[in-house]
């Protein structure tokens, strides 16, 4: 699953009030005692933790909505919506909403018509006219727009890290503010959710295309990952890139994005997390006052398209001007299947430190790799997912040689894993649980993540308990059942100018 890195980070912080010499058990007790949760009548979950010496708060507002909730038509909508929720409301972001509204309607009509024509009749004479009209309308509309409205208020009130992110599983909106700005935050964010106005949509869509160019189309590794996931998942929506397909974003409909908002961003899928120095009773009052009036709405249907079982290896090569890169993934069950915890341990044994199996064998001893890592729960954790090994070969070796050596290491898991090795891995995980000292923002992110994706932040506490139960026999059984060639996806990045990786 998930954490290893993540979890780990958290707890340390939490133990900010735990006496020296505390172990992870104390930390779990600390969290149970000090994390306060509330459920608002409309279904919103509120999580709070009072901690720290500085009068600051980290806020995270999260929805169990991600690209896994999209269809082919709406691929990229969750991420596009995240961008659009920075554009303001009917009060913030405008100097005259009554007048602005007329332009918004005309812009949408023109934009939608233009998009459809470009798709259905790209040679139409109407296209240049519509483009000119859209540009003119946008220019006139801009007179009523106050751009980046939240950002200005937040920065001058001491806000840092104002941002948001979208993954396949969830979407989160973050900021850190001085503790005295709790009410300001609640007022702004509740308005942002109640009355969003998706203004300047077609301009922002261009920015998202630029983002895609940066992350995927100009990056060999970015494009490799996109193809790797789409190869591993043939039917499940995990196959859609979070940012959307390059051929889809330019036609992503404003209406679809709006509809996505009103049907998916519902209170029962929402978690508010506040971590830092605070009076939690007061926080509850403020949150109730501002977020309480948000009306509950019915839950949309869950995705019903399951991934068909893999019945043989899937393999591809992506050519791009780049150094070579190797990705290998094995499909496996997700949480709450106990094997997910077993794969957490496998990840630790394989790549949990510089003395772990893969680094030691491939980088230090055989000198065939320049980097190697393994992780569990890719590209999301809400559904069946992948255990992945990523590696880069040293220049005198090929991707194929490296791949072979990785399989040799994976086969060793089917032999015995020594008890000492298991113990060492557990120690590292438990120790990192304390040492990964994080700030308020990281703690908030972790609590929010567990609540949003797993439905209960206390899954975080059960994690170490489950890890302690994993046995060498479990690891052997998981390796035999899942880490074989018929359950495997392999992606290679090769430079066409370098002999396609045969260097």
């Amino acid at each position: 699953m998930r954490l290893n890195t993540v979890i780990i980070t958290i707890a340390a912080l939490l133990c900010a009030f735990v006496p020296a010499g505390a172990d992870t058990g104390d930390l779990e007790g600390y969290l149970k005692k000090h994390v306060v949760t509330r459920k608002l009548p409309n279904g919103i979950t509120l999580i709070m933790l009072n901690r720290g010496f500085a009068p600051t708060l980290a806020f995270e507002l999260a929805f169990r909505v991600g690209s896994a909730d999209e269809s082919y038509r709406t691929a990229g909508a969750a991420h596009m919506l995240e961008h659009m929720l920075f554009k303001g409301t009917d009060k913030l972001g405008t100097n005259d909403y009554r007048k602005e509204k007329m332009y918004l309607k005309k812009i949408e009509e023109t934009g939608e018509r233009l998009d459809r024509l470009k798709l259905t009749d790209p040679r139409s004479d109407e296209i240049p006219r519509l483009k000119a009209r859209l540009k003119k309308l946008q220019g006139e509309h801009s007179r009523y727009v106050v751009r980046s409205p939240y950002d200005k208020v937040y920065t001058e009130n001491g806000g840092v890290g104002f941002n948001a992110s979208t993954s396949r599983d969830m979407t989160g909106y973050y900021i850190e503010l001085p503790s005295s700005k709790l009410q300001l935050w609640a007022e702004i964010e509740s308005e942002r959710l109640r009355r969003p106005v998706l203004r300047e949509y077609y301009i922002e869509r261009e920015n998202v295309m630029e983002e895609r160019l940066m992350r995927t189309d100009s990056s060999g590794i970015g494009a490799l990952y996109e193809r790797f996931i789409a190869t591993a998942f043939m039917s499940h929506p995990y196959r859609h890139p979070v940012i959307g397909w390059g051929s889809n974003i330019p036609y992503l409909s404003l209406r679809d994005v709006e509809n996505f908002y009103w049907t998916r961003y519902i209170p029962s899928r929402m978690t508010i997390t506040v971590v830092g120095r605070q009076d939690t009773d007061r926080t509850v009052k403020v949150i109730r006052k501002y977020f309480g009036p948000i009306k509950s709405r019915p839950a949309p249907p869950e995705n019903t398209v399951a991934e068909a079982p893999i019945t043989g290896e899937r393999r591809f090569v992506y050519y791009f001007q780049s150094n070579p890169y190797l990705l290998i993934g094995w499909i496996k069950p997700a949480f709450p299947d106990p094997v997910d915890y077993t794969f957490e341990m496998i990840q630790e044994v394989l790549s949990g430190g510089k003395s772990s199996r893969l680094y030691r064998s491939l980088v230090v001893e055989k000198k065939i790799a320049s980097s190697v890592s393994a992780w569990n729960g890719f590209p999301g954790v809400r559904d069946k997912n992948l255990f992945v090994v990523a590696a880069t070969p040293q220049p005198s070796h090929t991707l194929e040689e490296l791949e072979g050596e990785i399989y040799r290491e994976m086969d060793r898991l089917k032999e015995d894993v020594a008890a000492e090795e298991m113990e060492s891995a557990r120690n590292r995980m438990e120790s990192r649980f304390v040492l990964g000292l994080a700030d308020n923002e990281e703690v908030a992110g972790l609590l929010s993540y567990f609540q949003t994706v797993y439905g209960d932040w206390q899954e975080l506490l059960r994690y170490m308990e489950q890890i302690r139960r994993v046995t060498p026999a479990d690891m052997k059984a998981a390796a035999e059942r899942y880490l074989h060639d018929r359950n495997r996806v392999v992606g290679m990045l090769k430079d066409p100018g370098e002999g396609g990786g045969d260097r």
Partner: protein
């Protein structure tokens, strides 16, 4: 999993890390809470190493040894030697903890060990649970006093660092930043860019010499953050860090006049690094003053308004928000002990380059041409003041500030006075210092398709980079 596959609304290409931090300022607002920062204790070991200690409520021990040696001490002949030394120490360990034994030990105690070099410093840091205090001091002191710098680990380190250099240039923004700084700083200091060929020419003797030259007590600052009482830490430091060779404090120098002349000479050119990708990366830059220069305050405000202040900064507003022409656009100004650098960048599709480049440059030079509106400078001051507390959020933040102050030779009250210095800046100061900063022009570097040569020729002499 959280760390993967998450797209952020805003993603800066370079981190405008703040160095300075203010004094004990509470959050603004009527209901502001008092700030209760932990005190920092200092001591000097008998060999001259200076140690800073800050208490932590968290049951942990972090030891940071910060050595004054980094890219700024290098030139085109030695670029990357600091990286090689750090990697060799990381792989080879010490005489007491050689090679894999070091990592087995660190992993078994659940420690987090890092050895790395940056522009000004090479840092060894280790975090453990308090019960491993003795072993942690032993590991760090042995890495500092008896690193295992032998041929086997050097070869391994060289191969890994060389591969990182190769892979670094798969990313167009790395190419653009490195090339821009290489031109501005004439291949020295900030402009010392490692190459695979140079890396492969470094010998064991060069690595050992670098260690001998820089890893002396007088050229090192040690920071400790822990829940363990100060008295115990003091004894541990005396015991483990008193046998360091005293060495000498090492400094680097930058010939500002020469750098300024180089910027002027190249300011009408556009350096184009051809790469066949659909998006171009544009970087412009120039020399900035060092951290002890009073010009830092108006220039910090200028940069906030220009490109650092998030979505309301001018570059972001003009290029991304209003026109939809870039996802990544920003500026950074960095003041260091003896030098500084200003850089601004934008990434845009090839078709937009001819429009984005003049927008980028026009907004930058406009900072020295027009007085900042009162509301802009007020916004920047309020933002910097009200967020100042975040520079003191954790004990490690506080420790970092003390190390920075000591290393840069800043006055004792630097952090306490920082905000009042910012608040004293006038719009005239910002305009005057911006004009002075940009008077010599900017070095421009574009990474993108070779046909940009034709597109850009109206905006300057296009020089093709290899």
């Amino acid at each position: 999993m959280r760390r993967m596959m998450k797209l952020r609304f805003f993603c800066p290409l370079i981190c405008a890390a703040w160095i300075a931090l203010p004094g004990i300022t509470a959050a603004s607002g009527a209901d502001a809470l008092p700030v209760d920062l932990p005190p920092v204790r200092t001591l000097q070991t008998s060999c001259g190493a200076k140690v800073f200690f800050v208490g932590d409520e968290l049951p942990q021990l972090t030891i940071v040894a910060s050595v004054g040696y980094g890219r700024l001490h290098e030139n085109s002949e030695s670029a990357g030697l600091c990286d090689l030394l750090a990697r060799t120490i990381s792989l080879g360990g010490s005489k007491r903890y050689p090679g894999m034994k070091l990592h087995e030990r660190v992993d078994s105690i659940g420690g987090m060990l890092s050895v790395s070099s940056s522009f000004e410093r090479t840092v060894i840091s280790l975090s453990v649970l308090p019960r491993f205090r003795e072993e942690a001091f032993s590991i760090v002191s042995s890495l500092l006093t008896e690193p295992n710098l032998d041929e086997e680990y050097l070869l391994m380190a060289r191969s890994l660092v060389a591969d990182e250099i190769r892979r670094r240039y798969d990313n167009p923004s790395n190419i653009a930043f490195d090339r821009t700084m290489g031109i501005i700083f004439e291949g020295k200091g900030y402009g010392a860019i490692p190459t695979v060929e140079k890396m492969n020419s470094f010998t064991l003797k060069m690595v050992r010499d670098a260690w001998t030259k820089y890893f002396g007590a007088r050229n090192m600052l040690i920071g400790v953050s822990s829940s363990i009482p100060y008295e115990q830490i003091r004894k541990d430091c005396e015991r483990h860090f008193s046998s360091l060779a005293p060495g000498e404090k090492m400094d680097y120098s930058v010939d500002a006049a020469s750098v300024a002349a180089t910027v002027r000479r190249n300011s009408r050119k556009i350096f184009l690094f051809p790469k066949d990708i659909p998006q171009a990366t544009i970087v412009v830059g120039t020399l900035a003053p060092d951290i002890r220069d009073d010009r830092c305050y108006p220039l910090a405000l200028m940069n906030f308004v220009l490109g650092e202040g998030s979505f309301n900064s001018r570059l972001m507003r003009e290029i991304r928000v209003k026109r939809g022409m870039a996802y990544a656009v920003s500026s950074v100004i960095r003041f260091r002990r003896n030098t500084g650098v200003f850089l601004a960048y934008a990434q845009t599709k090839i078709e937009n380059v001819a429009m984005v480049l003049p927008l980028l440059k026009g907004n930058i030079t406009g900072m020295g041409r027009d007085r900042l509106p009162r509301q802009d400078i007020g916004w920047a001051k309020r933002s910097i003041s009200n967020s100042y507390i975040f520079r003191f959020e954790t004990p490690m933040d506080i420790l970092g500030n003390y190390l920075e102050r000591e290393y840069c030779g800043l006055p004792e009250d630097y952090y306490e006075r920082y905000l009042s210095r910012i608040n004293d800046v006038t719009d005239g100061d910002v305009m005057r210092e911006s004009e002075r900063l940009f008077r010599g022009g900017l070095v421009t570097c574009v990474v993108g398709r070779e046909d940009l040569r034709e597109t850009l020729k109206d905006q300057g002499e296009v020089v093709l980079l290899k």
